[in-house]
Symmetry: C2
Subunit: 99 residues, 2 copies
């Protein structure tokens, strides 16, 4: 089930498959800072991720200052990390690579 809280072991494996994401909020969230060449690239990235987030009904906490986007992912209903967070993280990494 994609909204079931992952175990520490599952989280470690999922994190190991990604680059640049770090644990946050006492291991209930993961965070990453993305940097782009300018604001249009940063916001283009956000727009692409927003469409995906809406599609999977799982949304990021994120902030943007010019060419930087800081993202935090967590599943509040599970009070921790689920497969959805890692699906969204993987999508974001892929999206960032072409903006």
């Amino acid at each position: 089930m994609s909204r079931e809280k992952l175990s520490s072991q599952e989280i470690a494996e999922a994190l190991g498959a990604l680059a640049g994401w770090e644990m946050a909020d006492e291991s209930t969230a993961i965070e990453k800072t993305f940097r782009f060449s300018g604001f249009p690239q940063a916001f283009g990235f956000m727009a692409e991720c927003a469409l995906f987030a809406e599609k999977i009904d799982h949304h990021p906490e994120w902030s943007n200052v010019y060419r930087t986007v800081v993202v935090k992912l967590s599943t509040h209903s599970a009070k921790g990390l689920t497969k959805l967070d890692f699906d969204l993280a993987a999508f974001m990494d892929k999206a960032a690579s072409h903006h």
Copy 2:
């Protein structure tokens, strides 16, 4: 000049013409929290503001969690508030009203 730092008197007048914006960071910035009916509305608002921000080459610091968008405006080159901040604030209020 739109990138010239405004006086306290000018800031008070400009703030008085807006609703819901508050001074922040020792009067070098203004902040507002916008709430929408859902994520698509919140992100639609951000997309509209992003296009305007790029057009006037003046960008917000902002964060989004689901249906909430928190915005901070300041002109770093002037180390304070300029007409650009209030132009962007007024645009954001107008954009928020139809999302």
